[in-house]
Amino acid sequence: MMKRWRTVLWAVALTLVLVGTGTAQVLGPCGASPQKAKKGVKMEMKMPHMSGMQMAKQGHRLLLPGDSAINFSLPAVVGHDIKTIKLSDYAGKWRVVCFYPGDFTFV
């Protein structure tokens, strides 16, 4: 009986230590990562994902002509291979980036 209690107490103590030091992370609602508080460092507020419309409504400026294009790095089909393609791979060239809703769609 005592042995089991001791095991439970150790488990609880260990959990508290791990969570307290940020080694183990308790997931917040919807599985979102919690923000880690670092000693002496201002906590970074990660922007929640928002659509362009939502961003505009909240006063965040949309990307517009005249702005520098935001670099990205994405997996891509190139010919018969899968490669990682960055916008910056083509720095110094004119680039046309075409977003489209989906493969196999009508338009």
Partner: protein, 148 residues
């Protein structure tokens, strides 16, 4: 995107690279190419990028939260990495590749010469040299008919 592929040689001859992006996986792109696109154009000569969850689409302001897709946005980016033009359409209407090529030529002309290209400009049509001298005198050099 098959229309873009069909005109790729012309776009490439202007020194431009094309990148297509949707939220579909690279595997979906591969199968779409094999089963459908290849029946419309011989090859897709540009990289087909995969933007899962629309992470990049959000940064470019084209991700639709309701649909879970990147809507039809097209960005012309100059050699300095500056966006010169963007056109965003809702999904039901396709883009006009001839207009894309026209704009690309126009921006390249502007960059090369410092002149400006009036509405509907295509190579060979009159351009304008911006300056105080032509203020109020555009009509001497350019007429609305030039736009068509």
């Amino acid at each position: 995107m098959s229309a873009v592929a069909a005109k790729y040689d012309e776009i490439s001859a202007l020194g431009a690279e094309v990148l297509s992006v949707s939220v579909d996986s690279v595997f979906s792109h591969k199968v779409w190419h094999e089963t459908e696109l290849s029946k419309m154009v011989p090859e897709i000569p540009y990289p087909m990028l995969s933007d899962p969850n629309g992470k990049i689409g959000r940064e470019y302001g084209v991700y639709s939260e309701d649909g879970g897709v990147d809507i039809r946005g097209r960005f012309i980016i100059d050699p300095d990495g500056v966006i010169q033009a963007m056109e965003v359409l809702t999904p039901p209407v396709g883009r006009n590749v001839s207009e894309l090529i026209r704009q690309l030529k126009a921006y390249q002309h502007v960059r090369k010469t410092g002149e400006v290209t009036p509405s509907g400009w295509t190579p060979g049509k009159p351009t304008l040299k911006p300056g105080i001298a032509i203020a109020g005198k555009i009509w001497e050099q350019w007429k609305p008919e030039n736009a068509f």
